[in-house]
Every structure is written in structure tokens, then in C-alpha cells.
């Protein structure tokens, strides 16, 4: 059961048109709230299950690649799906379709609603919302901490992730790299047949 992630050149069915690729991703980008994971679930439903533009098994292997590289998962999976269907130009269409809706929505919010932000009630509203984000961060930390921090080695790797930003005040990205290296060295190696790409999505 090995599904090639490379673009399928000997595709026997009609290639999907670039406009329908763009339009499908555009609608998903416009109507899906709740971040990358939610978006990729909708993409799976629309592209793999409903339209059958890609095989579901292929979607799943692309998905595991999309979660092992950095960056927004929705953009990553859009790139891979677009490339899979129509090579590089398909990838461009899929990525543009995914990010253009939020690009325009944010421009409208920033350009039209920013002037109203001096209203004290609006400021108070945003202050309340900002507090909720602390809870959301803490909750995400709690959920992943429960499964990822089970012994001292894992706690040490976790601390290594915090130290560069927390103690030295340098860029947090070094924390991620330090944790990756320390984890590689300290944590038990996984079996080579680890097929499931269950990267945590915060």
C-alpha cells in the first residue's frame, strides 16, 4: 500500500480545470472558520470524497506531508493537492484560492473597521476577546501536555523548547530547533513503519 506522492502524470481521466481548482479552494477559504485543520477536513470532503479529484488514500498521505513541514496546514495541503492535480500551475491556483478570501476579508476589516476601534465599548470588547485567547493557549497546552509530557525526557525536551525565548529572549524558532535536536537524541526512536501523521494542531 504505497501511494506515490509525486504528481500522477499518467492520469487517465480528464484533468481538472484550473478555474474549478481555484474556485473550489476559494469557496473553502471563504467559508471555513477555525484554522488549518478544519479547512483540511473540508478539503478532504470536497476534493477526495465528493468530487473524487484525488484518491482518499492519496489525500491522507499528502496530509501527513503537509503536517510535517512548517507553515499553515491549509496552505500546505492546498499546495500539495493543486500540484497533485495539475502540477505547478495547479498548485498556484490552489494556494491563491485558499489565501485570497482571507486576504480580502482582512483588508476590509483593517481598512473599514479600524477607524471605529477608538470607541470605548469596542475596545472593551476586544480586551475581553484577548483574554479568551490566553485561555485558548492554556487549553491547547493542557491538551497536548497531557499526551506529550509523560516522562522526564519529554519534559526536558519541552523545557528546551522554552529556554531560548524564555531565558535568553532570542527568537522562539531556536526553541523549536533545539527541541527537535534534543528530542532526536533523547527520545526513543520510532519504528520505521510509523505511517500515521498525527502532528498536533494547536
Amino acid at each position: 500500500m504505497s501511494h506515490s506522492i509525486r504528481q500522477n502524470e499518467e492520469n487517465d481521466s480528464m484533468p481538472v480545470s484550473l478555474i474549478s481548482i481555484f474556485w473550489t479552494f476559494f469557496r473553502i477559504g471563504l467559508f471555513t472558520l477555525g484554522g488549518g485543520m478544519a479547512m483540511s477536513l473540508v478539503m478532504r470532503h470536497e476534493l477526495a470524497i465528493k468530487r473524487r479529484w484525488v484518491k482518499d488514500a492519496d489525500f491522507m498521505s499528502l496530509m501527513s506531508l503537509a503536517t510535517v513541514v512548517p507553515g499553515a496546514i491549509a496552505v500546505n495541503i492546498a499546495y500539495l493537492l493543486g500540484r497533485r492535480m495539475r502540477s505547478h500551475i495547479g498548485a498556484v491556483m490552489a494556494v491563491l484560492g485558499t489565501i485570497l478570501p482571507s486576504f480580502f476579508v482582512i483588508l476590509i476589516v483593517a481598512g473599514v473597521f479600524l477607524p471605529f476601534i477608538s470607541n470605548p465599548k469596542v475596545t472593551a470588547f476586544f480586551r475581553g476577546c484577548a483574554i479568551a485567547i490566553v485561555s485558548q493557549l492554556a487549553f491547547t497546552g493542557f491538551i497536548f501536555g497531557r499526551t506529550l509530557l509523560r516522562n522526564w525526557k519529554q519534559c526536558a525536551v519541552c523545557a528546551a523548547g522554552m529556554i531560548p525565548a524564555c531565558v535568553f529572549g532570542i527568537h522562539p524558532i531556536f526553541g523549536i530547533i533545539t527541541a527537535g535536536v534534543l528530542g532526536y537524541w533523547l527520545l526513543p526512536k520510532k519504528k520505521p513503519e510509523g505511517a500515521g501523521g498525527n502532528a498536533p494542531t494547536a
Binding site: 489565501i99 483593517a110 476586544f126 490566553v134 522562539p172 520510532k190
Partner: protein, 175 residues
Amino acid sequence: MPLLLKLVISFMLIGLGAYGGGMVTIPLIQHELVDSRHWLEFSEMARILVVSQMTPGPIAVNAATFTGFRLSGIPGAILATVAVIVPSIVILALLVPCIERFKNKWNLRDFMQGIKIGVLGLILFAVWSYGKAAIKGWLDLAIAAAAFLVLAVFEGKLHPVIVILACGVIGAIVF
């Protein structure tokens, strides 16, 4: 260095560190835009995060568009948005042709386990660094604790945006 170039570099770093979802981009954005570059006030960044959570699209991409627009209009918005997605697209473009080889030889997954835990470390760090700036008194702490309890009780069955909106309404009433 011109502002637009700095903007591009900052958002490329944010794009590179945005590993495994939206929450981890919060400490990165705070570090780059508020603590190190002083482009935004904390309250402004918090507003951007709130808007990003309530509008479609990934947080990192939304924050890039918003910050770029705020700092230098439409060109800034376009450049920052492109900058935040370029690193992962380049990495994917390089990985796609040789993914089969990668699978067996260089064990990416062992490196990944550490990265996942490091990302968790960053999220815990963000609870402190972001929380310190967002929570200013006992009332704020009480709202945060109540929101945490609601999230924990429903455990993922409740959309976070609902909790954010509810806290906003409470904020508009009590502050």
C-alpha cells in the same frame, strides 16, 4: 534596511516557525512584531489575533495581511502575506520529488517528535508571555479562568470562537 524588507524577513521567520497549527504562531508573532521590532502595541496585536480567529483563513496568514497593511498599506499586505507562506512552499517543493527516499533513510519522524514537544513548550511559554500582557487584574484572571473551564468541560466540542465572542461581550459589559 528598508521597512518592507524587514517585514518580509519577519514574516518568513514566522512562517518557518509556524509548526503544527495556529496557536504556536502567537508567541512568534508577539516576539517578532511587539517585543523585538516594536511595530505594534500589544493591544493592537491582540486585536489582530482576535480578528484572525473570527475570520476565515489561517492565523499566520491573516496576521501577516493585517500587519503588512497596517505598516505600509496594500504593498505591505501583499508582501507580508507572500512572505509568510513562501518558506513552507519552498520546503514542500523540495520535499515532494524525493519524499519516497526520505521515508526510509533520514528518519524525519524521530526529529518530529522533539519538534512537537518543542512547539508545546512554546505554547506554554506563550501562556506566560501573552498572558502577562493580556491579564491586568483579578477580574481579567477570573474571566480567563472561567473561559478555560468552559473549554475544558466541553473539550473541543465547543468552537473556540464562541468562547472568544462570549468573553468579548463580558468585556464590553464589565470594562
